[in-house]
């Protein structure tokens, strides 16, 4: 592909350096488009599922089954006036949504979607993902501070406190996975789980899976851990003062982060892109019918992507299901739950996993 791209540049007499510099733009554009499409339909999915679980119909006016509802909402947000109250810190106020949004976008490039489809295959991919995912919290604090509004500031402070307390068990339960795989490379973590439902990391570190899932919900500030943007107490917290596209960026980042966390849960604990049956159906099909190695790779790639997306949406459904069920925690309950309950559990899980790996080497 790169050679083809270089040839086009040579044909038009453009310098090779330009091709070299602009080539990484394409995966970036791909990621950006993927992110926006995912988020647009995730918002719709959430509204539809909440409607289903609360015996309503949900959006069904714009387009067939309301499919274009979020597109209409996005256009509305784009053409809205960008309001800044006079005593806000204008630089930080504008910077905050960017700081929230960019890390989520970067993580999209670090996730393995199939065994061949990934942007960067880093040796310490898991480490980098966990490190980058905590940057966006700084954005929330900046947003709270720059808004010059006490509710926003409280929301920002709450999000910082929550993130710090939930990141500890979050990381420790992720370390358990790294121990199980013997690697921090995302592809190796997935590859180690190939072999069907019962070789998933979920079984040896079942406690870790539960802790990780709970911490994921807390990390993306969703019900029942949505204290930073509690509508009823804080007037939606750090994004009270935001309008138009800046608000849309926060919104986009929240749903993008939810998608990333679901992919992360699937990749670390539910076998990632591997098939739950151990062998790929398309592999079976190709061996029996087609006898063609080229098409085999193609079909396996598609099937891997299918399994990843399928599992991810099951996890997302679970998150939305929890949102429809549970009420919000109090701030002190939130902290106590993390420090007194999840942290000891994740440490216990670490011990269990270590002992398991010592006696049953992978």
């Amino acid at each position: 592909m790169y050679d083809l791209y270089l040839n086009i540049f040579n044909k038009f007499g453009l310098p090779e350096l330009l091709a070299k510099l602009s080539w990484p733009l394409f995966p970036f554009i791909g990621v950006a488009v993927l992110l926006i499409i995912v988020v647009l339909f995730l918002v719709l999915m959430e509204r539809k599922i909440l409607a289903l679980l609360t015996v309503r119909k949900g959006p069904n006016r714009v387009g067939p089954y309301g499919l274009f509802q979020t597109i209409a909402d996005a256009i509305k947000l784009l053409i809205k006036e960008d309001i800044m109250s006079c005593e806000t810190n204008k630089v930080l106020f504008t910077l905050a949504p960017v700081v929230v949004f960019v890390p989520t976008m970067v993580i999209y490039g670090l996730l393995p979607y199939t065994s061949n489809l990934f942007a960067i295959n880093l040796a310490a991919g898991l480490f980098l993902i966990l490190a980058i995912s905590s940057i966006s919290i700084i954005g929330l604090v900046i947003a709270g501070w720059a808004s010059n509004n006490k509710y926003s500031l409280l929301g920002g402070m709450r999000s910082a406190a929550q993130a710090i307390s939930y990141e500890v068990p979050f990381f420790i339960s992720a370390i358990a996975v790294a121990i199980l795989a013997g690697s921090m490379n995302m592809n190796e973590i997935v590859g180690q789980q190939a072999g069907g439902l019962f070789s998933w990391n979920m079984w040896p570190s079942l406690v870790g899976f539960a802790v990780f899932f709970i911490c994921c919900i807390a990390e993306v500030n969703r019900v029942p851990f949505d204290l930073p943007e509690a509508e009823s107490e804080l007037v939606s917290g750090y994004n009270t003062e935001y309008t138009g596209m800046k608000f849309a960026l926060f919104f986009l980042a929240e749903y993008a982060a939810m998608f990333i966390m679901s992919v992360l849960v699937v990749t670390l604990f539910l076998g990632g892109y591997t098939s739950p049956f151990g062998i790929y159906i398309s592999q079976l099909f190709c061996n029996l019918v087609l006898h063609n190695q080229m098409s085999l790779n193609f079909f396996v790639g598609i099937e891997q992507a299918f399994w990843l997306i399928f599992k991810t949406y099951v996890v997302i459904f679970a998150i939305m299901w929890i949102r429809a069920t549970l009420p919000r925690l109090k701030a002190d309950q939130l902290m106590a739950f993390s420090w007194k309950f999840l942290l000891p559990l994740s440490l216990l899980n670490l011990v269990i996993v270590t002992v398991y790996r010592y006696f049953i080497p992978g």
Binding site: A51, L52, R56, K57, W321, T325, L326
Partner: protein, 162 residues
């Protein structure tokens, strides 16, 4: 330690019960009524717009007793003017109801001795001016068929209540 385990087990079971109760709701038909396309089914006792019933030949049932005028809590909302004909019977000349100020309490229909003034199921009463919400006799009078229908419906209700 043992206490914590029991509490945790109890909590997990309760949360799972809640989750499955919510999931059960997914299999119910939605309660939502898509209003402009589908209309709700209303009881005949529903307090909608006021209307006057007429006889089968189209003459007024209303005898002009003005009870509705007196009982109305909103002041001069209902205005009735009558004159006596050659048989010394009251004939209604003017019967206006300002629905813009009506609170739909139904006192006037309760007090009507001949059940001439009734409340229909009509609730889509929005209009562009206050003047057009003042219903005169022509607008209030139902057709003889509708009058008969409402007579039967209200009779049934009265029997049901007693």
């Amino acid at each position: 330690m043992n206490n914590i385990l029991i509490e945790t087990k109890k909590g997990i079971i309760e949360i799972l019960r809640g989750l499955f109760t919510v999931l059960k709701h997914a299999f119910r038909p939605p309660i939502t009524l898509e209003y402009p396309e589908k209309k709700p089914v209303l009881n005949s006792r529903y307090r909608g717009a006021l209307a006057l019933r007429v006889n089968a030949d189209g003459s007024d049932i209303c005898g002009g007793c003005k009870s509705c005028m007196k009982v109305c809590p909103c002041g001069d909302l209902i205005q009735v003017s009558t004159h006596k004909d050659e048989n010394n019977k009251l004939v209604v000349d003017k019967f206006t109801v300002d629905l813009g100020r009506c609170i739909f309490c139904g006192n006037c229909t309760e007090v009507c001795p001949k059940k001439a003034l009734i409340m229909t199921n009509e609730y889509e009463l929005a209009d562009f001016s206050r003047e057009s919400l003042v219903f005169d006799k022509k607008k209030l009078c139902l057709t003889p068929e509708q009058s008969q229908k409402w007579h039967e419906a209200l009779d049934k209700d009265i029997q049901g209540v007693n």
